[in-house]
């Protein structure tokens, strides 16, 4: 297992380098320009100067190498310095990855965004799972029952209705008509009392619902399929022959086996939490990582987009590995070596 993990990690390095280059090249080739969103009143010469000040004057390979150094050496060093409070030599000369739009270090902005993204998108993922697993279990156990039919129907609708529709719909109903929940998410809210806690709950309900609905739709399908696979296995018969109650048979024997593939699917989906939910974040102004990415793309904030997308790529590679390892841990039959 350890060997396997190390090997995979080792293999991840060239993969990530290739990915980083592709990302970099794609974004550099992309015909969008950070000065494109400036007002037209700014003359072209000034734009050119701005572009050079942003470092766009240098050739692509140099920019790539610079970015590599910033991302892989300067940023981690900076993070360590921040964490432990001591400084490596030459800390002053180290440049970090700096955004075109904010002119501030990209990483700081990303870190600032992390909490709300994790809260809202992460919670919706958790809620989605919590809804999906029982639905999937019951749907499979009572295959073709009315519960199964309704569950299938609802999850299909959840899958097919885009969040750019459900979000505004909820806002119109619950913010405008009923006035129950705020339509704008307050990212500065600090939860320090029961009142603010309640406020936090209220502002999270709608975005979490929208996303959880979508997530639950997909995971419940997986859960159902996996349960169906296992319900027809021989060991289920053995468990029944041992005189185990249906509850134990389903919730211990079958569920444990069925969860193995589902847990890996869930693990594979975790990077999407970090990539945020672009549309939902826009609609509710949660302003998490997804919103940061889309703003970056729209504003041609190349360092921001590069860093974010590369981080997602790292997460995807990492969680692919984690999913495999989790599979190995959950399923004693699998031993990687």
């Amino acid at each position: 297992m350890l060997n396997y993990t190390l090997r995979r990690l080792l293999f991840a390095i060239p993969t990530l380098i290739v990915i980083s280059f592709i990302i970099f090249a794609i974004l550099a080739l992309a015909p969008s320009d950070p000065t494109g969103n400036l007002p037209l009143t700014i003359p072209a010469e000034v734009r050119e100067k701005i572009r050079i000040a942003l470092g766009l004057g240098e050739p692509l390979p140099i920019r790539y190498l610079k970015w590599l150094q910033q991302f892989f050496i300067n940023e981690p060093l900076h993070a360590i310095e921040q964490m432990f409070g001591f400084s490596f030599g030459g800390g002053e000369a180290r440049t970090r990855v700096v955004s075109f739009a904010t002119r501030g270090p990209v990483m700081d902005t990303i870190m600032e965004r992390m909490p709300q993204t994790l809260w809202v998108v992460g919670l919706s993922y958790v809620v989605g799972i919590l809804i999906a697993v029982p639905i999937g279990v019951i749907s499979a156990y009572k295959q073709y029952s009315w519960f199964d039919q309704v569950g299938t129907f609802v999850s299909m609708v959840g899958f097919s209705v885009p969040t750019f529709f459900t979000g505004p719909l909820l806002i119109v109903i619950f913010s405008v008509q009923l006035g129950w929940f705020p339509s704008v998410y307050d990212t500065t809210l600090e939860v320090n009392s029961l009142g603010t806690f309640w406020q936090q709950i209220k502002q999270m309900i709608m975005p979490v619902t929208v996303l959880a609905f979508y997530n639950a739709a997909q995971i419940s399908r997986f859960m159902r399929a996996s349960m169906l696979d296992n319900l027809s296995q021989d060991y289920v018969r053995t468990a029944r022959a041992k005189g185990m109650s249906e509850k134990v048979v389903i919730l211990t024997h079958v569920l444990r086996n069925s969860l193995i593939p589902v847990v890996t699917v869930i693990a594979l989906g975790i990077p999407t939490i970090f990539s945020g939910a672009i549309i939902t974040e826009q609609i509710f102004r949660v302003n998490g990582l997804g919103q940061l990415l889309i703003i970056g793309i729209q504003g041609a904030d190349i360092p921001m987009v590069q860093t974010l997308t590369f981080m997602f790529a790292v997460l995807i590679v990492l969680f692919n590995l984690i999913a495999d390892i989790v599979y190995g841990l959950l399923d004693p039959r699998i031993r990687y070596d």
Partner: protein, 307 residues
């Protein structure tokens, strides 16, 4: 092998000609959801294909003085904020949306199956192809889409005209970014099939690799591919609507259901009916296709087929 009482039922009617697909079809017909899905889907396809011959209003015609109408006799689904007839737009949008869905799915299946089969069958190519697949999975798609569309829009427009060009581009973009799962599934299936004795039998005869793939591997991976196919259409339709949301989709005078839904969302409170139609159409298609997929999967599953 003791409780095979069930499968011996297969030998029942040796007199009648029965094919595997015949069995699948018979099973599929038993699946209520699948049949209902097929009926709904076919109805939508027929309406979308033949509707414009009956409802002959030009979907692009702007009748600004009749904007934001509710359903009327002349405009069964009302009009939008520029006075375009919604029904005509739904019909026109449906043609494009369905065509995109089906073709993009086709492309992603062809790619996915090809990569999956080759990776599964040729051990030497497995590593590189699977790493490529991982790479595609790990690549951030949004910027990639942006770049592909920027880079290839003009040449394609030159070659095939503005509508066909962007259509091909979008089909291509959705196809190229959605084949990875199919490839993984197919590869897994091929790895298992490769160990099956009939493939060994083919080798013992001396059948060449590509012939073996075509004759023995390919027909047997069709069932997972069919299931991915049904899901693929739904996925492509939803991806197209997301592209419209991001402003990367078709030109604005080229309606698709995704775009109609997105445009209608802002008018949700003014003319609610405007969001209902495209929303219902997308949901209906995705639902019906998923039910068809369920039906196909159940029909292809030998365990269930036995029952």
């Amino acid at each position: 092998m003791t409780d095979q009482a069930v499968s011996t039922a297969d030998t029942t009617k040796l007199g009648a000609q029965r094919t595997l697909w015949g069995d699948v079809w018979r099973q599929f017909v038993q699946h209520k959801g699948g049949v209902a899905g097929t009926i709904v889907f076919m109805t939508i396809v027929l309406v979308v294909v033949f509707g414009p011959f009956i409802h002959t209003v030009d979907p692009q015609f702007l009748d600004i003085r009749n904007k934001n109408l509710g359903p009327t006799f002349a405009h069964p689904m009302g009009t939008d904020n520029l006075g375009r007839d919604m029904f005509a737009q739904i019909l026109a949008g449906g043609r494009i949306t369905l065509a995109v869905g089906i073709l993009a799915m086709g492309l992603s299946l062809v790619l996915g199956t090809l990569v999956g089969v080759v990776a599964g069958f040729f051990k030497k190519l497995d590593g590189i192809l699977m790493r490529t697949t991982d790479l595609f999975l790990a690549l951030p798609l949004l910027p990639l889409l942006l770049v592909i569309i920027m880079l290839f829009r003009d040449p394609l427009r030159q070659a095939f005209g503005p509508e066909m060009g962007i259509f091909m581009l979008i089909v291509f973009v959705i196809g190229i970014t959605s084949w990875m799962n199919t490839a993984r599934i197919v590869r897994g299936e091929v790895l298992a099939l490769k160990e099956r004795e009939f493939v060994l039998a083919a080798r013992s005869i001396g059948t060449k690799s590509w012939t073996t793939i075509w004759r023995h591997i390919f027909p047997n991976v069709l069932s997972p591919v069919m299931v991915s196919a049904t899901l693929g259409i739904a996925n492509a339709i939803i991806t197209e609507s997301a592209l419209s949301f991001l402003g990367l989709g078709f030109p604005s005078d080229f309606p698709t259901w995704g775009r109609l839904l997105f445009d209608g969302t802002s008018f949700m409170t003014v003319t609610p009916i405007r969001v209902v139609w495209p929303g219902v159409m997308i949901s209906l298609v995705v639902l019906s296709i998923n039910y068809i997929g369920d039906g196909v999967r159940d029909a292809l599953d030998p365990r269930i087929r036995g029952r």
